[in-house]
Symmetry: D2
């Protein structure tokens, strides 16, 4: 099971804690975490997963491994800039979007196009098809429920 957590490269403390908890729960359920590998939501989720003993993959936009946050085990330097968002959406079984701007929206849209579940927490609430929940715990439950039934 590969789960992606997507969101902004910088975020406030509340969002950081939500993303960290999401990463932790993904690792506890035995999932591999895949993110864009940078700061903010991506770092928080990676931190949570890593500290819970999970494996974290960072699909980076640039050419340098130094861009990755320190919790990324497997840095993949794509050099494709934002086009790397598509690889994240393609590689995950399900995506959890936490907050986020237009970059996150592009990943949500690609995931939807591919028919993958997208669970949202405080994110683009008005996009048809996103399953909005209020906590990381609910998000993981929803992910597991959807992946089991598919």
């Amino acid at each position: 099971m590969i789960i992606s957590v997507i969101g902004d490269g910088s975020c406030n403390n509340d969002i950081y804690m939500i993303a960290e908890e999401a990463g932790k729960l993904i690792a506890e359920k035995g999932g591999i975490l895949i993110t864009g590998g940078l700061g903010g939501v991506m770092e928080a989720a990676s931190k949570g997963a890593k500290e819970a003993g999970g494996t974290t993959v960072g699909i980076l936009p640039g050419f340098s491994r130094e861009d990755a946050n320190r919790y990324v085990d497997i840095p993949v330097t794509t050099g494709l800039s934002h086009a790397r968002n598509i690889i994240i959406a393609r590689s995950a079984d399900a995506l959890i979007a936490i907050s986020g701007g237009y970059g996150t929206l592009s990943e949500i849209a690609i995931a939807m196009k591919l028919g993958k579940p997208v669970i949202g927490i405080k994110t683009w609430g008005n996009i048809e098809g996103i399953i909005n929940v209020n906590s990381p715990d609910e998000a993981i439950k929803k992910v597991l429920e959807l992946l089991m039934s598919s």
Copy 2:
């Protein structure tokens, strides 16, 4: 000036006529039209531009030039699947989104991320930053106005 018209690969007659008119107006203003090169909105816009003497570029998802609609002058076969959407957003000065689903939404989001104007006609109305208008004529006026002032 390179303008993109984005939207679904199949569409109803109303949408087709709107996209065809948009393509025609882009060509009349001297713009190069760039689309995803397939059917529906992409075909309609290409038809309009081509019949008005314009140049049409099709950034195709697959490997075969045969996938292009017949109004594409310059078929670029990327073989990148939906990742080609990003090239369209990156190459255009402005985008006109006409109707459209999740694929179109991903292009809108990438364009927004890059700070490019996105004019919408009967498209994702609830995305902050899209400039919604009611006709191709208004759309082109808006595009010209924005590109002049930038």
Copy 3:
């Protein structure tokens, strides 16, 4: 017919004149020229094609149209860095490699992998499958002969 001329972004005068002649001949035969859009061999071929009344496409590595040489009609800003080489190989019916380093070699290899004809002038001579010729004139004759028979 879409023909690519590939080679280094900077080159000496001899190579420039060869590439310019190749571009001219492609345009005279009614072909669309596709290059990487930058300087050197890419510029020379674009100049030749443009001055002979042809259409020139530049598949650029970066995000800015300003990177294109002045003879490019259709600049496509991919933002994919060297990965744009693959789009050139995929979009052309045949490739003419003139001189060139490792970037050119990667395009040659991808074109070979796709089963496309690669004609070489003073390029990587020791790669099995490249058809080596001595002049742009021979190169175009070879391209036409191969495309007619396929």
Copy 4:
């Protein structure tokens, strides 16, 4: 340290054993192995690394994780077809090319372009810049020597 082993998707037994040994040695030196994730040389290297307790990443050309050989821990489904070769070259500190055809050659060329060490075993021997060796053992020694000094 991330090391890539590149080569054909199908291979004879001799090449398979060489690639397996290379994978094993990479894992024993604490390296992460990155490959294209498919059969042949990619599978052999992944098997060697996995059985030696290493971590294996597969950068797949398609959309389905089922395409990965069974020794891939981290499957990344890029959906970019051969363009995924570029991600492999960009993500590795050094590449070991074992046998291989035009696809392998494209990876070698991109790696050279990026200034990364490429060690070859029974591969494209006539490309300037490849460091040709005769065994996996020599290859790893060369990789370590080059990465230490850089």
